[in-house]
């Protein structure tokens, strides 16, 4: 049986080595989150770090008053981003209400999430750290070009994160 990368100690150690849970990361990545939301025209964008049992919000762009902004994370079983840790690929949900994995997700049933697109941030050591993602409250299609925009922003986020390691 292939072990679940979500619980891989080496991946979690990489997150610690990169000091990704520090509040210092927010100002470094905030601008990347802002660009993702603006360029895809969606209200919310996150730079997520996927931990073993929770998603940690490293940076967020979105309206004031989101509970996520206060908790800076949520349980991993609600996480759209966890899929990319397992597949190492982009993950897109165009209609969350009909999506087999997410139609009963509380972020959908309670908070109104309807669409999601995320691209993994993969460190130079090969570990998936989390995603650059956008979230919307209406169903929406995503083009290949838009996923490429997110891919570019994910690469930029990793570059900024790893620049801190080499300092």
């Amino acid at each position: 049986m292939i072990p679940d990368p979500l619980y891989d100690e080496a991946r979690l150690q990489e997150i610690a080595d990169l000091d990704l849970l520090s509040p210092d990361v927010d100002p470094i990545l905030k601008d990347v989150a802002r660009q993702a939301a603006e360029r895809l025209g969606l209200p919310v964008s996150l730079i997520s770090v996927v931990l073993d049992e929770a998603l940690h919000v490293a940076a967020i762009q979105g309206p004031e008053g989101l509970w996520l902004d206060e908790t800076r994370g949520h349980p991993v079983e609600w996480s759209f981003c966890a899929t990319s840790v397992r597949t190492r690929e982009a993950f897109v949900v165009e209609n969350a209400e009909t999506h087999p994995e997410h139609r009963s997700n509380p972020l959908v049933t309670q908070d109104g999430v309807r669409c999601y697109a995320g691209v993994p941030m993969i460190s130079s050591r090969g570990f998936v750290l989390g995603n650059v993602c956008v979230v919307g409250l209406e169903t929406r299609e995503f083009t290949g070009g838009e996923i490429e925009v997110l891919r570019g922003l994910a690469a930029e986020a990793v570059r900024r994160i790893e620049a801190r390691r080499t300092r």
């Binding site: 619980y7 100690e9 150690q13 073993d52 049992e53 940690h56 509970w67 206060e70 509380p106």
Partner: protein, 101 residues
């Protein structure tokens, strides 16, 4: 007065159970295996002035998680997961209470 034991309350709508000591131990064992997981938890409890298996309140669990976090490395990442789960439960429970749910 002690707060109710963690792990019993459940949030309607979100189907989220209040985190308990058992959840913390299970998380550590999933990542580090049974022996190292138990050892890390015992150390966290000791540093928090608690006995493993007798972390009964949310405040005590919070203290043990903080002690785990101070161990650094991947243990601190697991601790952050627990902290997020505790914080999410508290935040959403407070909203539910305000709304009378």
């Amino acid at each position: 007065m002690l707060s109710p034991p963690p792990g019993t309350a459940r949030l309607p709508g979100y189907d989220l159970r209040e985190p308990s000591e058992d959840d913390a131990r299970a998380s550590l064992q999933r990542v580090f295996g049974p022996d190292r997981g138990a050892e890390l938890w015992a150390r966290a409890c000791r540093e928090a002035g608690l006995l493993p298996g007798q972390v009964r309140t949310t405040a005590q669990l919070d203290r043990a998680v903080k002690a785990l976090s101070s161990q650094g490395g991947s243990a601190s990442v697991v601790a952050r997961s627990m902290e997020i789960r505790l914080r999410t439960f508290a935040r959403l429970a407070a909203t539910a209470e305000r709304q009378g749910r």
